[in-house]
Amino acid sequence: MIKFNKFYTQFNIISLVLVIISLGFLIFKGLNFGIDFKGGTLIELRSSDNKINVTSLRDNLNQMDLGDVSVKKFGNDQDYLVKFENKDKKKDIIEEIKFNLDKSFGNDFDFRRVENVGPKVSEELLRSGIIAISVSLAIMLIYIWIRFEWQFSLGAIIALFHDVIVTLGLFSLLSLEINLSIIAAVLTIVGYSMNDTVVIFDRVRENLRKYSDIKIFELTNISINETLSRTLITSVTTLLALFSIFFFGGEILKGFSLAMIFGVIFGTYSSIYIANTVLVRLNVSQRTILKEEEKI
């Protein structure tokens, strides 16, 4: 049996520090919102001419007075991602750019993807994204509150917040783009983290009924160990799936799969080292669950 409980305090401190650092990043550095949430225009273009490179593209576009233009390579050598604010909200901006690039580089490129999000829509998307995450947290809270005693709910929710905050903190640290698919990733992380925690909690509760003489400190350790191989196997298979999306699923899914990979790792860690330690700190005992059952 692995002595997970030996490091409860140390990992609690580490997590606390991580959360504080993440919040610091989120507050002071903020998130790198993509055009979905900030508004603006995105063009993915593929060139068949090696005259075109990031610098020449940027120089060319900068002459068009588009506001803040960003040009990046996108996966494949010949693919580029162009993003700008389109501040003046010019209507035919895409056609203008096409015309302009045609003139400078000849007809050796192709617009593979164009996205144009107005300020009103991006505001709405951001709002509905925040609502979606809040609602999902609230529903998880309600679900776990119905299923378990409040001490368990608190543990699960703290673990959940930990995972979401640290994942977003990491995105802020690495300046990774937040777009619609990241919201989907965060919601899935919420589901996954909860799922992992609930399975261990199920076992903790079962063991609480079984053994009246084992302290919660030991009991959580027993439960973690009993469910450990399941926790690891499921994490491994999920990560296998996610890594194959990350490496083979194309550029568009990179951010999504990366967020999920972080989330699954944090989710697995937090269900062992956060959710359980909350039970320990709240001194949960057999009485906790029996009291609850008497009430019913």
């Binding site: 895409i94 996205e115 989907a184």
Partner: protein, 517 residues
Amino acid sequence: MLYFSKLRIILVSLICLFFIFVASNNLFNQDNRFFDKKINLGLDLQGGSYLLLEIDNKPVIQQKLQNISSSIRSYFKEKGIRIGNLNLLDNKITFNVEEKFKQSIIDEFQDENSNINPYYPRFNSHQFEIIDSGSVLELSFSKQGLVELKTSSQDQALEIVRRRIDEIGTNEPNILKRGNDRVLVELPGLDDPARIKTLLGKTANLTFRFVSKNNQDSFGSEKLQYEDGLNEDYVSKRIILSGDNLLDAQPRMNNQTNETVVSFTLDRVGAKRFGKATSSNIGRQLAIVLDGKIISAPVVRDTIASGSGQISGGFTFQSATDLALLLRSGALPAPLYIIEERTVGPDLGQDSINAGMIALAIGFLLVIIYMFFKYKTFGLITNITLITNLIILLGVLTLFEATLTLPGIAGIILTVGMAVDANVLIFERIKEELKNEKNNIIAFDSGYTKSRTAILDANITTLLAAVILFFMGSGPIKGFSITLGVGIFTTLFSVYFIARLFTAIYVLRNKDKEALI
């Protein structure tokens, strides 16, 4: 938990066969079989354009307020009440009356049978509401009046947008209402929406009005620019003909001038009016105004009684074709603005499909190899379950003709990764049970029973996340929530019916073997 009746085995097999059949339909190109349902590919996979249009209702509101302000004046004049200081503001009109008439005017506007202020019984509200602000009376749209106005302009806009897009002839466009002032247009297979964007960006409000050179006109006149942006002219506010009077419009080649023109045919009322106006105004310039700009202003040389004519204005064949199309399909009730556009080229779509399929295949293979090494025989059973799970998942998506998007493919891959969870929970539990229980059958049985709550909990949490995403997400993200959510049900089915069946067969045959798992 290990007992399966014959009937149940047959039933499970039939269900599997059914879904294999359904899912396999996606592999065939022809639709000529008796089952023609297929998984739809989202715009991000098949390529196409997504346009969200917003209707700018401000001009409509202004127009309606202008209409009511002129009817107020005449309506109350007949009743002997003089309306003074009538002002048309942004969202309301204000006016003055003598103090003694104030109440009767307010009553008139609040009467359910009011002739001037339509009452909507189903909303229990009038179109306009009137407020006495002390110095003046203020008339503005009521909340319901505004909703009515927006709904009706949305209905009209939807119809016109549909007509314009149908005229261009793209395949299977999807045109839907969003909220009460938006129209969503999905155009599969279209990789350059430039022309459609131009066509949808025009209100196409056509009027024929006389040029009033000396700026004297009893109807009032306004200064309008020509299309070329260089010249301008005063044009009467009196409308001789509008686009509503057009029956047909076609691009033509004028053989005499060798110029591309748009020829039009008028309806009966229009033809009569046009004949009358031209006969009494020979020698004057008739301006053809489109969306506030003069296309051309030819001089009337003769009475035009035939009810048909031509518009010239330096068109190319393309611009004449587009103008004719716009005129045929009618004017939008209000200007439309594109507030969101997402276009994916067909080759990127194909690349995404390929990448998604490769990722699925590799992810699937990795999970299968891992499970086999972890559990051997039971890994094999899990893997068979995974395959049937995937087929059933595709079958369900086919049955509902769901839309598969790139994030949707990610959802399928993720389902593969997470689907083993339930089997793992069961197998691990059985291992634990076997430590204390020597009888294989009893251990397997209680393993299944005791792991049930954990499995249920684990899947409900994921399902909740998927449901929220389904309701909050848009487009591609919705596709993700669908595959993730459906994947949970197919996983549970596969685990409890298929994997358990195989497990049962294996365990019952090897019930005396030790270290079975």
